[in-house]
Amino acid sequence: MAVTGGEAVLEVRGADMGYGGKAVLRNVSFSLNQGEILSLLGPNGVGKTTLFKSVMGFIPLLSGSLILGGRDIGRLKPRDIARIAAYVPQSHGTPFPYKVEDVVLFGRTAHLGPLSSPSRQDRMIAAGCLERLGAGHLSGRTFTELSGGERQMVIIARALAQEARFIILDEPTSSLDYGNQVRIIRKLRELRLHSVAVLMSTHHPDHAFMLGSKVLVMKENRQLRCGSPDSVLTGETLHSLYGVEVDVVSFSSGGGPERKVCAPIL
């Protein structure tokens, strides 16, 4: 069901990642193709943020290689990286009450000259991206007054306006209510159809099942396993990750394809 076999957007080989010469993550290897979703699972403090920062080029690799969009990350400037990969952080802090349409327009920055401002065409692209996520009605609102779910949509629209092939989301569903969580997951599934690659971290193994994505599991600062949710997310793995007993249950609703959910044993 997933659109796979696209061109590789990200290839990480034997990478050590960390700050100031101290490795937080060791020997990470995985790859991500266009149209694929990779969910990152692991307990708090395992190094997910470090992984994101390395993939975005904020911090240099300590060893190994990281190929983004076919080029070595060390040779890419922030502007080049922003044209390949977009980042949706966990909290969106701006001290200023910008309009939603302007916030989406910030996604165009990597396509502008160093001292120039966005053109009419940039505005149209931004408006189109907001529309595509079904959030066009938010356009004239003030960003800082939106709800958490609305803000998340706006920031994803900004990532689309960046025209990146690859979107990185840091816990996109945290702090959202249940309905908005499901809405975000749906939108992310749709992105695959536009052959966008998605890398996201989550604390819910169920999200990985819902996304039908690849899963990368991390524990104690190293990569545990990477593969399909069916093969990786077993009760055993989840227990070793989170220290609680979990039943992975198969079911099929309304004659649809078989799906899996996690049911913690209480």
Binding site: M56, P78, G107, T109, Q162
Partner: protein, 332 residues
């Protein structure tokens, strides 16, 4: 549009206050004579050209440049540091300039020497703050390190300045230093402006064009980088340009506080947080504010009051009323 109204209003007040400032001064120049001179260049009183083009006009231009430049650099710094309490002096430019000027006064250098020393002192202070912050690595928030380095350098140069004051001759040198530190536009001449204004322009133009990137930077370091802004390079550009502007300005005006802190807030309330509008409007409002305050400094007492004192005395209650009245909350 709010922006158009703000710009037109600002220009109107600037024109009126600027014209008015040409009448202010001890030399009696009649309204008729002055208008004729301004419009046609003809005059009967042989002293008129000296009084107007030699003294009052340069002072008006200086007030506009000083207010505009300080407000512009203040607005750019507040955007870059993402902090409403930041003023142009945050990285030590005024303490460095104050120390430089005091040193020149102590050595009995002429006015040009005082300007040069204060300019060099301002630059040296900010560059040391930047160098300190760059030498500190390892997981620290770069903005926080920069602010702390600025505080360190400010207090260091403040202490050096105190030494110079302590050593200065209390009969002539010390009063000169203290008076310089209070800030004044009384001694600015066309020759000074011819040197300083090009320097101000070199710094101000890139600042005025960095509005969009400062907007992006308001989302924070990582987010701005992920949007394609070379944040380190942008920070250096803003710091170098603002420092060039401030050090040049301080070298002719002495230390005038408050403008760079307050005026960006007023501009932000008038035209919103978009730096593409905020930066030029801050410049305009700063110019207006300074001309008004300088007019007041020249006319409120029989002796002229140093303008740096008036900015704070007028500005403080004005800002309090302003904060109470304004309903918008641009900083969340």
């Amino acid at each position: 549009m709010k922006t158009t109204a703000a710009v037109l209003g600002g220009l109107a007040v600037l024109l009126a206050a600027g014209l008015f400032s040409l009448f202010l001064g001890r030399y009696p120049a009649g309204v008729h004579d002055l208008l004729v001179f301004l419009l046609t260049g003809r005059y009967d009183d042989p002293n008129l050209p000296l009084v107007i083009t030699g003294i009052r006009l340069p002072r008006l231009l200086a007030a506009m440049a000083v207010g505009g430049a300080l407000a512009l650099s203040g607005a750019a710094y507040q955007g870059m540091f993402r902090n409403p309490m930041v003023s142009p002096g945050i990285l030590g430019v005024s303490s460095g300039a104050g120390f430089g000027a005091a040193m020149a006064i102590l050595f009995s250098l002429p006015a040009a020497g005082v300007q040069l020393f204060s300019f060099a002192g301002g630059l040296a202070a900010v560059l040391s703050a930047v160098a300190i912050s760059r030498s500190i690595r390892g997981g620290h928030d770069p903005l926080l390190v920069l602010v702390l380095s600025g505080i360190i350098i400010s207090s260091f140069f403040g202490a050096l300045l105190s030494i110079l004051k302590y050593l200065a001759d209390p009969d002539d040198k010390l009063p000169a230093i203290v008076y310089w530190l209070m800030g004044s536009l009384a001694d600015v001449r066309m020759g000074d402006l011819a040197v300083v204004l090009p320097l101000v322009a070199v710094g101000a133009v890139p600042l005025l064009f960095s509005g969009w990137r400062l907007n992006v930077l308001s989302f924070g370091e990582d987010e701005a980088r992920s949007l394609g802004v070379h944040t380190g390079r942008l920070r250096m550009l803003v710091i170098l340009c603002a420092t060039l502007v401030d050090a040049s300005i301080i070298s002719i005006s002495g230390i005038i506080g408050w403008v760079g802190l307050v005026v960006p807030h007023i501009a932000r309330f008038a035209v919103g947080p978009d730096h593409r509008r905020l930066l030029p409007v801050s410049f305009l409002f700063g110019a207006v504010f300074m001309v008004l305050v300088d007019n007041l400094a020249r006319s409120m007492a029989s002796v002229e009051v140093p303008v740096g004192i008036v900015t704070a005395i007028v500005g403080a209650p004005f800002f309090i009323v302003f904060l109470k009245r304004s309903q918008a909350r641009p900083w969340q």
